[in-house]
Point group: C2
Chain length 312, copies 2
């Protein structure tokens, strides 16, 4: 981890869920910002953050906070709201900048799990890709959610992907990279379309496939009785089927193109496996399963290494 | 749990892996058989079981053990070998019966996870469905495998499915049900085709789907680098991809018909989800995910209840 000291003069975190709350806490723990502000639609969370002196000021509405004038020299905004809500936030930021309530060169970053759609929205709202808009995505989560589950060390040893765009200001990108490195994350850079492709395969597709099988069992003629006979394999496979329908609905639509492409490739593999089973193609089946098994064991070793790094 | 005392005079367990070893141990712990014998292809396991006085005699070859004459009054054989190996065991049992080394009315049972194929094999070998052949499948497993991981309480509060066939002797079925109830299992009865259908959906299909996605990631152009960006969702979803390729190859082929039917139904659901994403059909997507989420939460509650029962 890089020890950097203060990176920003005044930072604003929008959305104090698990991710936004953990960014805020991490910035406090590592003294990365001179002053901290926050916006969350839940007023009680803002009250809590102020009462605990985690932030200097906050509001449930960005423009109300901006109207007080405290953000005129704010140099960083982190948008930590669900993917579908980023667009409305960008519109409000544009309004605040237009009204000189936020500096025109404020660095704007996010934490969303899809990127192409945010670039599109930003272009539509700003009429260009803002040089200070730096897209970032921490690959981290936890069983718990919400501000009370925040953890300043949540990102330690986790990947953080930054997706620079063609018109990005290099200094802005560097500052966001430094921010996340200071929170313990390992920062990688890649284009937004590559990011969306990778996330479609490693995260979005497993959720879709798990939802689909759990739905199949739920709508079986056995009508839920079938779950009596499910064991540990199904338990693990289907755990993510209990994820938020609204959040995942948003993600699948926000990352539509990459999800559909990944799904098509998956369907081709399923069709091949189906044919191999139909035709007793033992050699091909064994080869496919061996490749999968070896890859899963490789992934298991990566997880063990990550755990070790976290506990350093 | 039913307390029954001795059910069998002389029982033989064929295959001392986790399941066979746990059946043996459970029969000892609960004094369910007067004398116990075992066969395993691994001679060292037999030596170990004899040295620890778990069995009176054993061998790595069923006919060798039978030739010593100790099984002429054996009243129960439990076949606890992988699905693909059951057929060869049934052939040897037939030979032993034909040579009066096993009684013609010995109760023969198994623990395999597919049933239709075993009925077919038995019919081919015996020229009829033997009245004393009782097909059983304990829905239990553990992280560990092998004889050393055996646990006499492994089946406690787990489902045990018995698939009676049309020519079954009622008393033989009752004795096998009593055996498993005495080991703590909750016994359900259903036809073998229903069993194979349920297992295809709750166990075989998840394994196939998990293998397929892990294979897709492993053969991505990123060539394993993509796993660096996978998180907890993929970790759980893909855990079963590390299962034994040979064992699962056998199961998919042994339960071909039900697996292919389940897969076809799954593909139809995937196609529907794909169309819903393509067409921004929010209402339909949310409805599907809600049904899945509710079903997964119901399943989670079943698991909690089962854990509570186990700890009684």
């Amino acid at each position: 981890m890089q020890q950097t000291g203060q990176i920003f003069h005044k930072a604003l975190v929008i959305g104090l869920g698990l991710i936004g709350g953990s960014v805020l806490q991490g910035m406090i723990d590592n003294r990365l910002a001179g002053r901290l502000y926050a916006v969350d639609f839940d007023k009680s969370v803002i009250h809590h953050a102020m009462a605990d002196k985690l932030i200097q000021a906050g509001d449930d509405e960005l423009l109300n906070l901006a109207n007080t004038g405290v953000l005129t020299d704010c140099d960083c905004v982190i948008i930590a709201v669900p993917a579908f809500a980023v667009k409305a936030i960008l519109e409000k930021i544009k309004t605040a900048i237009d009204n000189q309530l936020l500096p025109s060169d404020v660095i704007i970053s996010d934490t969303a799990s899809t990127k192409g759609n945010i670039l599109q929205d930003a272009f539509a709202i700003f009429g260009e890709l803002p040089p200070n808009l730096v897209l970032a995505h921490p690959i981290a989560g936890a069983e718990k959610s919400g501000f009370m589950a925040r953890n300043g060390a949540l990102f330690k040893s986790h990947k953080l992907i930054i997706c620079p765009h063609d018109f990005n200001d290099k200094q802005a990108v560097d500052k966001i990279a430094t921010l996340w490195q200071s929170l313990g994350a390992s920062v990688d850079f890649m284009p937004s379309d590559k990011h969306d492709e990778i996330l479609a395969l490693t995260s979005h597709l497993p959720h879709l496939l798990s939802y689909a099988l759990t739905y199949q069992l739920a709508t079986d003629e056995e009508n839920l009785n079938i779950f009596k006979y499910a064991g540990g394999g199904f338990r693990d496979f289907s755990r993510i089927s209990a994820s938020s329908p609204i959040m995942w609905h948003d993600i699948f639509l926000a990352n539509k193109q990459a999800v559909l492409q990944g799904l098509e490739d998956y369907q081709a593999i399923l069709n091949q496996l189906k044919a191999d089973i139909e035709n007793d193609n033992s050699e091909k089946l064994l080869e496919t399963f061996e490749i999968a098994k070896n890859a899963r064991e490789y992934f298991g070793r990566l997880l063990v290494e990550k755990e070790k790094l976290k506990n350093l």
